[in-house]
């Protein structure tokens, strides 16, 4: 059996591939931004809220973390229209990614929050800070610092996992690669090309996250005057 590689066909279609990759990046970045806010809200409510809210959030987190992402995507795209809420493919993909990332993010943040010593929280309460102020000023920042590597990994997983939204016709990188391979009959070339693009995006985001970590958590310590 012989398969001759013709990578020139990839260059002929590089613009479409880059457009697909750009949608992957936009969807992932927006899902992370919105999802992180939602995750923080969930983590806050789960640590400080009344029992009913804590239960509801725990149920949401377990439901999302124990079901396949593809099924979540299908429910949002194919089933929500029956309730009168019709989202187009990109909107449905974004909503599904936010809902998914928020559940994992909330659980990751919770582990960060639990790492904060009880004594610190008691001390802040004793100083007269409200529950929200304690969360905002004493707990959140160190919690994010502890949870940061796990959050960054989860984001990469989210970005790579976004490849399944091609199933609901969102035209991201995998969808573009699928269309190109099915019209040019050069499957390996386009799958390798999309693999290289995913790898590049993942490494790029990792470098970005390392930079953000350094600027946010490392540099302030270095520049802070010694006491």
């Amino acid at each position: 059996m012989h398969y001759a590689f013709h990578f020139n066909v990839v260059w002929e279609h590089w613009r479409e591939l880059v457009e697909g990759a750009w949608l992957t990046i936009r969807l992932s970045a927006m899902a992370m931004g919105i999802g992180l806010l939602a995750a923080t809200a969930c983590a806050y409510a789960k640590t400080t809220g009344p029992a009913a809210v804590r239960w509801a959030i725990a149920a949401y987190i377990e439901a999302i973390r124990n079901t396949p992402f593809l099924v979540q995507v299908f429910i949002i795209y194919f089933s929500l229209p029956a309730t009168g809420l019709s989202l187009d493919a990109n909107q449905a993909a974004l909503v599904a990614m936010v809902v998914n990332f928020a559940a994992y993010g909330a659980e990751i943040l919770r582990s960060g929050l639990e790492s904060i010593g009880r004594g610190q929280i008691d001390a802040a309460r004793a100083l007269g800070l409200t529950r929200y102020q304690v969360f905002r000023h004493v707990m959140l920042f160190p919690a994010i610092k502890v949870a940061y590597p796990a959050l960054a990994s989860q984001f990469i997983l989210l970005m790579l996992g976004s490849s399944v939204v091609s199933a609901i016709s969102a035209v991201e990188l995998t969808a573009v690669a699928n269309s190109l391979q099915s019209t040019t009959f050069r499957p390996f070339e386009f799958y390798f090309a999309s693999m290289a693009l995913y790898l590049g995006m993942a490494l790029g985001f990792r470098a970005l996250f390392t930079g953000v970590y350094w600027v946010t958590f490392v540099r302030p310590r270095l520049t802070r005057p010694a006491v």
């Binding site: 059996m1 012989h2 398969y3 299908f74 795209y77 194919f78 089933s79 229209p81 029956a82 019709s86 187009d88 493919a89 091609s166 199933a167 609901i168 016709s169 035209v171 969808a175 699928n178 269309s179 391979q181 099915s182 019209t183 009959f185 499957p187 390996f188």
Partner: protein
């Protein structure tokens, strides 16, 4: 980190090497099939009435029946390689299957990648949708969302007939295209007339109706380029089973209509 990266690259390269020819093929594909008494046939079981899964989860449909008869006459054990519509040609190119029998319409584009055997059936592609959606000519498609399935004849034909402003929505398999139509995510969908009938009959409440005929085409088994011996055997088999009525009986059983006169090339 450095060794990790080198390891990764080495793994990637060895993966590529697996795809490359390893040894000069001493036997052609037909000889291999005859020697091993085993034929691997790629089928798409999400494409009624050509390929479906029956209630027991076993492959069924006209393509499956053709594959079973072909393997029996070849004296080979039949191994099904189930693929989505997008995998029908890649499965062949990757060497996962010896032949694809998946109602794959004859097009000159596909013939650049694989070799067609003589046609063993015919189908037509139609556009259909709910009664409330007005489509009576291709021009009416402008502004409408039309669902099609990747790697199908509709992907090759509908975008060409659709006027400027048509919103073509691509799905990876027929089931998703059908779901999109039923849930109102698209205004109309293109598929084979047989699939259209299955969907319309199963969903009487949706009042789906035929809107446009896109094209009619013949479909046939495909083999890898240069597998001339296998192609010639399959052509011979099609000739025999066309004349003895087996192909017509299978076609009638699954589609409900008479098999048209099949051309050869």
């Amino acid at each position: 980190m450095r060794t990790g990266l080198i390891g990764l690259i080495a793994t990637a390269l060895s993966a590529v090497a697996l795809l490359a020819p390893t040894t000069a093929d001493a036997q052609n594909t037909l000889e291999k099939i005859l020697a091993s008494k085993k034929i691997r046939v790629a089928i798409d079981v999400a494409n009624p009435p050509f390929g479906v899964l029956d209630k027991a989860g076993q492959p069924d449909g006209s393509d499956v029946a053709v594959a079973r008869l072909l393997a029996k006459d070849l004296g080979a054990e039949l191994e099904f390689v189930q693929v989505p519509s997008t995998g029908r040609i890649p499965a062949l190119l990757a060497g996962r299957a010896d032949v694809t029998i998946a109602s794959i319409s004859v097009t000159t584009e596909r013939a650049k990648a694989v070799m067609y055997c003589h046609p063993n059936g015919a189908l037509s592609i139609t556009i259909f949708g709910p009664q409330g959606v007005k489509i009576s000519s291709p021009a009416d498609l402008a502004g409408k969302r039309v669902g099609i399935t990747r790697a199908t004849l509709e992907e090759a034909t509908v975008p060409k007939m659709a006027p400027e402003g048509t919103k073509i929505v691509w799905f990876d398999d027929l089931a998703s295209t059908v779901q999109a139509l039923l849930s109102g995510q698209v205004d109309a969908a293109a598929m084979t007339a047989f699939a259209e009938k299955t969907v319309s009959d199963a969903n009487p409440g949706k009042h789906l109706e035929n809107k446009l005929l896109v094209t009619t085409a013949f479909y046939g088994p495909i083999v890898r380029q240069n597998d001339f011996e296998l192609r010639q055997w399959i052509n011979t088999w099609i000739f025999v089973n066309k004349n003895n009525g087996n192909l017509a009986a299978i076609y009638k059983k699954y589609t409900g209509v008479e098999l048209p006169v099949l051309p050869t090339f």
